[in-house]
Subunit: 462 residues, 2 copies
């Protein structure tokens, strides 16, 4: 990484021109730059040379044109809650903090869609929607910005039913590396009009352009929502229950695995008292009848696999407490080792291989000195081993790095992916090459065509 | 179009080299070339110089390498059932007929996915799957090849519940313009690993490479399936019923509109006797309970909007007869004017604008001499005016062209698209520019990067 950074140059002329455009919405203060030097992960921070706070797409276009003129890298920044160093400014340059672009431009209850600026967070959006009978389901845990979620192709607990950002985005307005403002698609639910640029930008992690406006599909708040917790005698029992639930076509809204270490972690942090065994956290959406029917099916499957009776969370507050505990998991893990940083693995495998992949990973954990929890969006085949690490502890970091290598290699052999939802960023570049050795060349052609001077979030993904 | 074709050159050296590779699986016979000169639409036929019949991805790679060496255009061909001239060889070149690549390579009941070669048709796949309890839902009517459906981002009657080819494809193996074999993704249900090349190739109509293998999501055959037909007093009533069904979140599997002209057309062709009023053809999938609940909801909505009682088709044969009649619609329209060709419009609008868009279109039809039927996958906001035309009748073609222009202009004003599912091909290039005036430049950059010599289905889409 250090050698990459030797090419860093002085951008004082660019910064002067940006200051004329943005006035006090451009900052070069050390504190602001440091705040934008990293996400929530263990990756080494790199501060940008300056941080811009635009308030319109047109302004982003002007900013990018100035950066292009001076060959200054551009790094979009949402809430900084990502996990693979995607915002760390390894070549310096200009960080564009999108938090000022936080308008909800349009909500159509009739079309069940909305358009928001990229800086709107998912919780802001859902609070705004509360009275419309609609909600935005994609839920990565952190209160990420919609733009950031587009960038990393985020998903999370609801994806098993509602899909990921790949499915949620109808259209984008992006600013490309030459400063052009490009609308990628119309608002039609489906279209066969040309290349799917929307999906090309979803998951491109800021390396092809800056996402400014996002048109999202929304969903009707179901008539009935019921959440439940179910403990299992064995990890295998819990996972097999998940696999059969999916294979039976139960349209479950959430089905989350927490192994016994994860349960201990959230018990401590969130003042809960679940038994120290593997658990599933479940949520059912539908009509009253359908929710009852789904729940009955999954209760039967759970019983077949050594599951306990369901502990129901039917009231909104109970449900919120349950999912808040799940969402706070990363912070719970950090709290166990004050001063530590998150390193979360993120493989996703075809569901037929999930039991095997998790059990082999568990055996690998059991061989270590570290007491590492496994949690996951198991309905999609996606799980995380959540590590709280001290990046300066070289011995621990080396062990963890080798552990992750083994895990990814295991997942790739099972036809899985190195990242289900966190993205490539800085941390997974070598694994992307392993995973898609021919496709990487096509990705490089696309990157070079859309960003010939390598100014858009350089050094990430590819 | 004629000026484009003046650049046509002699490919005899390329053909000689291809003949050594393929022997009798290369044809230059006039009959074979003519058969591959067009799809089912009105567009002017252009025969390729030769037709190759490969039987493996490796062979496609070798073929494309030879074509690249001689700068010979490459046009992939599935079943020739498309509607915008996507296979017509306007610059000559080599047509690659994929029908010999018709193996179903792998079905995983556990993962609910499969891998097929591009030449497998959707009916072949569903027949093969019959005993597995799974099915492949995407259903454009015609018995298209899976590769062709990838190429045009096909959808059809089931898309309202199960999505289009955009959602159905997990991964592709494609041969790019330099002959490289590229796997675009793993089999994981979700991934944040790099650019979404899968979605970039879905809908690229052969202009970025040749799709050879397709990994598809499958779905469990529902416990209960019930189809019904419902007549309406007015077109507006039928459409408003659709809109409310979608807005209430009923997970309906199919909801198809046929106006009174369309009903007359299928009555004649398929020996049916529906009343000459607008109808909805509906299908419900789910558990017994859920199907009953969905049907009760939609029956209530239908009654509110002047709908008749449902005529149920509960047995498999009855359902098949119903949908066969719907699928044969295009052939029914052609049969009314022997010797005619299909020109099907294909706009798709946000559902809040659907009633307005269809009623304005109906008024436009009523002003003409032509008795044109409206049919549509209205749950997605997508509808067709199906015209059987005589391409040599200049006056009629001019009127039809102007009618389509007005319709597309109306749809674009309503934030819709010029093509919901047929693709751009030859017929919609000018409309794509109207629809996405900035995005077209980004698409051109992508095309030029992946196919710098413009050999992959040249003259289409862009």
């Amino acid at each position: 990484m250090n050698s990459e950074c030797n090419t860093k140059v002085n951008f004082s002329d660019a910064i002067s021109e940006l200051a004329i455009l943005l006035d006090d919405r451009l900052s070069t203060s050390q504190a602001i730059r440091d705040h934008h030097s990293q996400d929530e992960s263990f990756h080494q921070p790199f501060a940008p040379d300056a941080v811009a706070f635009p308030n319109s797409t047109e302004e982003v276009s002007k900013i990018v044109k100035i950066c292009a003129k001076y060959l200054m890298p551009v790094i979009p920044f949402g809430t900084g809650t990502a996990l693979e160093g995607g915002v760390n400014a390894i070549f310096g340059g200009l960080c564009i903090d999108m938090s000022g672009m936080n308008s909800i431009t349009r909500v159509s209850a009739q079309d069940m869609d909305c358009t928001v600026q990229a800086g709107v967070t998912r919780r802001e959006l859902n609070e705004y929607l509360r009275d419309t009978g609609l909600f935005f389901p994609v839920d990565p845990g952190a209160n990420a910005s919609i733009g950031g979620m587009v960038a990393t192709r985020a998903s999370g607990t609801n994806a098993v039913r509602y899909g990921t950002m790949r499915e949620a985005v109808l259209s984008l307005t992006v600013v490309t590396s030459d400063g052009c403002i490009v609308k990628t698609s119309t608002r039609a639910r489906k279209s066969a009009a040309g290349y799917d640029l929307t999906r090309l930008f979803v998951g491109s992690e800021g390396t092809l352009g800056v996402v400014c406006d996002v048109t999202l599909k929304l969903h009707a708040i179901p008539e009935s929502i019921a959440a439940a917790v179910c403990g299992f005698a064995t990890l295998q029992g819990a996972i097999d229950c998940v696999i059969e639930t999916i294979q039976m076509g139960v349209p479950i809204a959430r089905i989350e695995l927490l192994d016994e270490v994860a349960i201990e972690t959230i018990n401590d942090f969130s003042d809960l008292d679940y038994a120290h065994t593997p658990h599933l956290f479940l949520e059912f959406h539908g009509t009253d009848l359908s929710v009852k029917e789904q729940a009955a099916t999954v209760q039967e499957l759970a019983a077949d696999h050594g599951g306990s009776d369901f502990q129901w969370a039917l009231k909104t507050e109970e449900r919120n407490k349950l999912w808040r505990a799940r969402h706070d998991f990363a912070y719970a893990a950090l709290a166990k080792r004050p001063g530590s940083k998150i390193l979360s693995t993120d493989v996703c495998v075809p569901i037929s291989r999930l039991t095997e992949c998790i059990l082999e990973t568990k055996a690998d954990i059991d061989n270590s000195e570290l007491n590492m929890p496994i949690i996951g969006h198991v309905g999609d085949g996606n799980f995380h081993v959540a590590l709280s690490v001290f990046p300066d502890d070289k011995r621990e970091m080396q062990w963890v790095d080798e552990f992750n290598k083994r895990l990814i290699s295991r997942a790739l052999k099972m036809e899985g992916t190195c990242t289900g939802e966190h993205g490539i960023g800085l941390g997974k570049k070598e694994y992307l090459v392993q995973e898609l050795p021919q496709a990487i060349n096509v990705m490089k052609l696309v990157k070079n065509a859309l960003d010939p001077h390598n100014l858009m979030n350089p050094g990430k993904v590819l």
